[in-house]
Symmetry: none
Subunit: 211 residues, 3 copies
């Protein structure tokens, strides 16, 4: 039978706070998938740092990617909103449905950061937005593979906007017109670029912090 | 020799608080199985969070599924009954008899949540009810496999009602009439749908919380 | 498909505080890579020591190398700047992009120390500087392999200066002229030699400590 494939399709019409569309590809094609993060009931135990628990059959690189994204999201939130103590006061649980499908690689980085910030800011990400890109601990956005498959998968899920790493622009532009048409593609070289696209109502926070 | 098969049959006439019927299938057919959860004697150690211990030869995905269900059940209980501090004050032990049979996959998700909530609310689930469905950390119910086998297995155990994921409706409806007859099938796309079916006496809690 | 290769190229024009260029080589050639360290938001939990978390698919030797570098950097900082309590008051997260590429070996030692000291001193390392060398727990710099490949990789990334271990001088000098030209090569036998090259504005700290 082999490795299970994504079967559930899209099950949010509007992604709520904490939920973001990632983009993946396998030898069988590309697809969108959800990243869901919630705050766990109950305060972190006094004397232990708050933590991010992850589930969804994640491989080693993806676990590290979650750790990087968590560290970065905490620092980024402090940069744009120093009085927001959400991450210090909550344990988080991030799940990648569907639970039987192995998930690996660093390319969900910017989507994981966005899921965490959505929850911390209590602001849903722009609807019908999908994104893919490795993130570094300083917020740089690094290239990913599968631009063609991810574009097709995003359109199949009726996403309207995709964010790709800026260094992948060349890969998108060389695609056939029929693949490129019908979706708005944006590029990011730094997580700041992702933030203003994903949270248009919150971009003042970032602009004020930069000044 | 080979992998052990379920042999014990049904051993509760009325499932008590904390016990729920799940539905599984293997290449040899479908069957119902019990999920049993009890509160452990003794309070959680001060300064350590309460926990859910699991036994029953669970595979990696099923262990993660239990973790997701536990997080979700705590948040769901807080949503419907914020003064209920059961999960904060008890360590839990969830067992999946028969202990020699390996169990894997995410499809027990809604049944695990229901077992936990039954215990927390001190309310038995509807009798003669079986259920199967993956649950996400936000409570969405995702499709499962083996609709035909699970239906046959549920009827063999004299269950009267099955809950399937809404996205599996098509799979049930295409079954032969002699398979479909003699059992009441309900569908759930969100755990809220499961809750009102499993706990008819508690549905006011949910309705009041939603308003 | 095989093992993923570095693809992102150079993405900092000026390396910020905490970021240093290392040099690596594989059977497919040499390249520069970034080491990125940041201080995590939130103070270390009272009663637990501050720590360095590492990510980036590091092998066992490289994990130990990070541990050695962390111990050495704390002692070295105390030697040159005893009032600087940065390492006592911050948890650190060091990441080696790109996350899917396995990284192994001790040769990033001096670069890891430099990344840590850059952060503690709030001083960026000299720009366009790359370095490679194993470091011992007392600060001695030991030889590395791949001098030719690393030189070529550094030039491809437009680095202007490389630090090699002094014991590798013979390996550099035997290279063809066209490989050697166009880059300034410096040698280090002790981390002190690295420090004055990487942090020219801070060399007084070291000179005062030595007297």
């Amino acid at each position: 039978l082999g490795i299970p494939q994504y079967t559930s399709g899209r099950y949010y019409e509007h992604t709520p706070v904490g939920v973001v569309n990632g983009l993946a590809y396998t030898p069988k094609g590309g697809h969108s998938f959800y990243i869901e993060t919630i705050a766990e009931e109950g305060k972190p135990v006094s004397g232990t740092p708050p933590r991010l628990r992850t589930t969804g059959k994640l491989g080693e690189v993806m676990l590290e990617s979650s750790s990087i994204a968590y560290t970065f999201a905490k620092n980024f939130l402090y940069f744009i909103d120093p009085n927001n103590n959400f991450f210090e006061t909550h344990n988080l649980h991030m799940h990648f449905p569907e639970g039987a499908i192995p998930k690996e690689g660093p390319s969900a980085g910017i989507a994981i950061v966005t899921s965490l910030l959505s929850l911390a800011l209590n602001e849903p990400a722009l609807n019908n937005l999908g994104m893919t890109g490795e993130v570094t601990i300083t917020g740089k956005v690094l290239p990913i593979g599968g631009v063609k498959e991810k574009t097709i998968g995003a359109k199949r899920s009726s996403l309207k906007t995709i964010i790709f790493p800026a260094t992948n622009r060349v890969h998108f532009e060389e695609l056939a017109s029929y693949v490129k048409e019908g979706i708005d593609v944006q590029y990011a070289s730094d997580y700041k670029d992702v933030f203003v696209l994903a949270f248009p109502n919150k971009k003042d926070l970032l602009e004020n912090a930069i000044q």
